[in-house]
Symmetry: C2
Subunit: 675 residues, 2 copies
């Protein structure tokens, strides 16, 4: 069976080769005029400078944790942690390098050849990101498993992926929103210059932000999810089945997912007269379908039963339903967004109240669907004529997450293609390219949004299931069979864990506020002290704005990042393994709730604004529109900073607990032993 | 020992007699001019009409539940439920009758005799509410226990108190905020007439709202908390100690609390040259001190140990610390409110972001303090040389809540005195009394706020501890020893339960939005169709506005009220007793978080606005002030409707589970038995 296991790292390497091929094809496209090359180099440099400084800060943290892990758990786990961190850094680095090349080439392709060629370039850029994420993830995990066959080693790999992801998501999220708010509030609102106008000093920072937040941050995020899901399936698969069978199945499904994603990306071709929306949908559905069919045969042949296959189907259904519910609450085609738009007639306060209300309400059905999904995957995969086999059932929950994320290569490609098109539009604007170019890039950007919603549903669904599966592995690793909710220690853990996503959101939101405030001041200062800017006679100091975003993001990401690692350890060592279990469960439930609430409220406000801009309620410039802009501004840190970071937070805390579990089982509960 | 138990109902009756005495003393005060009597009668009628219609709607619900309880659980429990509901109704009715008499008399006392006499009248009004709440609570519970000696019967009483309280809080909260927002937005903002101006058609509805929301709603709320805490101590006390001892101790502490509250109210006397703030503080501290001293002796003599006493001390300390933390996050004297005020310089969006962030952040320390409080009360009360006795420990958690709420007679008096003074100010304005009168009532109102904060800290702290103690009783009643967090059923329950406070908040917030919208439309219509109103030549149609608030409140309170009763039953019967346990734990943790978050965000916005009105950031009318008003308006439903209702929601769901526990243990888990 050792030979069959080889397929996993081979599929990973295949994904990397495909990424390399795609990247070279982008390089062959002409980047356009000198001005375009210049602007694009500004963005590229800003993005790379941020990454370099970010990795330097995070590097210190990583080295400390490496040493701690080495002494406390073992040097193999520490090594896996280091490689996991390194791969996460690489995924961000490659993805962003390609994205900052693809943006200018997309703009030029749109200018020279039109929509179809622009779609090809932008989507190729996205595919590189997608393939790098799954390629590094599966080759790394596969290789570590083949060499060590030790679940605690691969959790180290997962810890590396998760900890880097949290910093990248939080830092990227703060960067992009600070620049965005700064550019919008002073440039668009106060000075009345259009979006992406080269006279706006924050315009480069804004475009850099799209790359560090929506490309690098998102890539690290999905790398983490992907690795986490597979690790949870492996750790439970080892116990659920004899030998390597459970592990092999999870790895094989992931390997098939990579092939399916490669095939899926091939569906996305700009052809004369074809609809790009259809191409993206086709690619997404095709890759999912391939995974389903292959799982059917793999489940039967490897595990000798179709039950694991049905758990995967069930998981994907949960992801799709959550995606649909998300769409209903956040799209301008449905009543909720229209309600928010109605409420903006009576001012900003009612806009905010209704948006918060929609966001909170939107947690209802997804939580019920998740509850059903958890029970369903568990009961199906664990079914025996004499009742549910709990370990096989929990393995089923992990499989449901693996199934959803197996096509991450494709969903990340769709996700990353959006900001590349958006950036291309910015470059077109800054280089004063013909108006048609911007129209094409806007079209491309909006086309990706609908398909990306499926990816978001999968992200939320898989995060909850992965965290739960890791949590189940945790109880195995500390050797406790029950975490009893009637034990006050567990409740205390539940209270502290439940609070963390609130605290975390507060910190990241106010970080955005503070950073945006400095940016606003700086843009105002430049307009005031350099009057030549507005007349186009003087070049604004782009670099200052880039520096402000960079410094703020790096400064503000430290505390939330440390929180996620330190609090579980403190609670575990002081109050014991059961309390730490309570903490994880508390963080899981409020984390999922806050992530859904904040993402959907932000999305709904965004689309309510767009809905009004479409001509309702007086359209752009009306009082209703002004109120809707307030909603959108509040929604920005909700949906792009705090909301998505929480998904990582819950998993990171669970992985930390899992890795340090054996130590906590031995030395934890210091406070209690004093009595 | 039967004889000693008599002390509880006797103390209850004593409280009622004291309330009667106070009420008659208010009646003797002159209500002032004909105009004052007229305005006051409008408010009184509006308030009574609302109560009558509210009780009619709720009555149908209560009768159905009565019949269900009778057949499913037993007619004694059903009877206790009916009496519990009836007492809650009575508490609301008496409190409001007196409050609507005290308001006009406070105004007249301020006009005729000045500050001191006004304080006497207003505080007497508050004391009646306080004494009625504790008097009905303790006499009812005490009598039921003496007659039936059956824990399941008194949980019926508690169910009555909780279900009425939820409707009263939600209905009252919607009423008062709809009227408030309507009166403010059209009257103050659009038409530029001052607060409480008789030309404003919504002015009567606004003043009625203070009574139905802040007096009747709050009274029912505290009646519920008070009863819930004692019931949780009784149900655990029966198991923790031989015979009646555990029960007796809880009842005796409550009886002493009533005496202490009566003594406490006597400290509050308007004396020449004395500071009313000091008088209120003295009264509050004195009554707490008396309870502490008495508990020391009672603990020793009844339970033969000082450990339960220390659990009570610990609980009160937790309440006081939470109160102080709340003050730090919501008072204009500390940095958080100032930060919000700073952020209003850059507009409404940053005001909202910073307020939400402060609210979320403010959950941090209180949750940690609660966690420590839970562990502390448990370990102290359950201490034995051979480890913690878990039932005695849980009983200690319940005792901590009983200790905090034992002086509810006093804290409710302080709470209810605020809206009475506020109403007196409204009447002064509407009757065009001299400006000094309004100044006195404003002073009285603001003086109460600081002391009331202690009551709020106790309310949150006791709600969490009570719900937890009731939850522990639930596991006893369904006969399960563990609710295992690694069981997917429990996690499914946790997800659904955790979601409910989000859904509940969404529903109540949008209810306020909808009701306020109708009110705004109506006030605008009256100003437009009856131009004589603004010139003072035509009387506005107050009744229409009162009707709108009434109808909206009654319509919108049904769904959230049913949710709290129906969802636990559905989950219990479909998924079983363990899943229902998960549901309660989930609702508890997110409920406490959302209650703290929403109350504190609302309080912080309110005080940021007041801070700016105090002259900073350009003062009243500046752009910063306008942004702060948006924050305050968003905060209104947060702090006065959704936030406080959640405290009841968590307890109501726990009581429902507790009452129906035995049935669920027998018939629950239908869905699972299908497999």
């Amino acid at each position: 069976m050792g030979g069959t296991l080889m397929i996993a790292p081979i599929a990973g390497v295949l994904a990397l080769l495909f990424a390399y091929y795609k990247a070279s094809s982008i390089n062959k496209v002409d980047p356009g005029t000198e001005r375009m090359k210049e602007i694009s180099s500004f963005i590229h440099e800003g993005a790379m400078a941020f990454l370099a400084r970010e990795y330097k800060s995070v590097g210190i943290f990583a080295i400390i944790l490496f040493v701690v892990l080495g002494f406390a758990i073992g040097w193999t786990t520490a090594l896996a942690y280091a490689i996991g961190s390194g791969f996460s850094v690489l995924a961000g680095y490659f993805g962003m390098t390609v994205a900052t090349k693809a943006n200018v080439r997309t703009a030029n392709a749109a200018k020279e050849f039109g929509m179809n060629k622009a779609l090809d370039v932008a989507f190729s850029g996205g595919s590189v990101m997608g393939m790098v994420v799954v390629g590094l993830g599966l080759s790394g995990l596969g290789a570590f498993w083949m060499i060590f066959k030790d679940a605690s080693v691969i959790t180290g790999f997962s810890l590396g992926a998760s900890s880097i992801a949290l910093f990248a998501r939080v830092g990227g999220g703060i960067y992009t929103k600070a620049a965005d708010v700064g550019a919008d509030l002073v440039g668009k609102v106060e000075s009345g210059i259009p979006e992406d106008d080269p006279r706006n000093p924050a315009v480069i920072a804004d475009n850099v932000g799209d790359n560090v937040g929506d490309v690098a941050g998102m890539g690290a995020d999905l790398f983490e999810s992907y690795v986490g899901a597979i690790v949870s399936a492996i750790t439970l698969g080892v116990i659920a089945f004899d030998g390597d069978k459970g592990v092999l199945f999870a790895l094989m499904v992931s390997a098939v997912g990579i092939l399916a994603s490669i095939i899926g990306t091939m569906f996305v071709k700009g052809k004369e007269g074809s609809n790009p929306q259809k191409a993206l949908n086709m690619g997404t559905y095709a890759s999912s379908a391939i995974v389903m069919v292959a799982s059917f045969f793999l489940s039967n042949s490897i595990l000798g039963s179709l039950l694991p296959f049905w758990a995967i189907v069930f998981g994907s259904a949960v992801g799709l339903i959550i995606a649909k519910i998300t769409e209903i609450y956040t799209s301008g085609d449905y009543k909720y967004v229209k309600e928010i738009a109605d409420q903006s007639e009576t001012g900003a306060a009612t806009t905010i109240i209704s948006g918060l209300s929609v966001g909170m309400r939107s947690t209802g059905y997804p939580m019920v669907v998740l509850a059903i999904g958890i029970i369903g995957a568990y009961m199906i995969a664990g079914y025996t004529p004499n009742g549910v086999d709990s370990i096989k059932g929990l393995y089923g929950i992990a499989l449901a997450a693996v199934g959803m994320l197996s096509t991450a290569g494709m969903t990340v490609a769709v996700d990353a293609y959006g900001p590349i098109s958006d950036n291309a539009g910015g470059i077109a604007e800054m280089c004063e390219l013909p108006h048609e170019v911007r129209e094409i890039t806007d079209k491309l950007d909006s086309v990706g949004n609908t398909t990306a919603a499926i990816g978001k549903g999968f992200a939320i669904g898989s995060a909850a299931l992965t965290a739960l599966a890791l949590f189940a592995s945790y109880t195995q690793s500390v050797g406790i069979t029950t975490i009893n909710l009637t034990d006050p220690m567990v409740i205390a853990g539940l209270f502290i864990g439940g609070m963390l996503p609130f605290l975390f959101s507060a910190i990241t939101m106010s970080a955005v506020g503070k950073a945006a405030f400095s940016m606003i001041e700086e843009v105002r200062r430049q307009f005031k002290e350099m009057p030549g800017i507005m007349e186009g006679k003087q070049k604004p100091d782009y670099r200052r704005c880039v520096d402000i975003s960079t410094a703020a993001a790096l400064r503000e990401m430290i505390v939330p990042g440390l929180l996620a690692v330190v609090v579980p350890l403190v609670v575990g060592f002081l109050l014991g393994a059961e309390a730490l279990g309570g903490l994880q469960a508390g963080a899981l439930v409020t984390g999922v709730l806050m992530a859904i609430f904040m993402s959907n409220a932000g999305g709904a406000w965004d689309n309510a604004k767009k809905y009004i801009e479409g001509g309702t309620h007086g359209g752009k410039g009306s009082d209703a529109h002004k109120a809707a802009v307030v909603g959108d501004t509040v929604g920005d840190p909700f949906k792009d900073t705090s909301g998505p970071s929480i998904n990582i937070l819950i998993k990171l805390m669970t992985v930390v607990s899992l890795v340090f579990g054996p130590m906590i089982a031995k030395f934890g509960g210091v406070l209690l032993s004093l009595f």
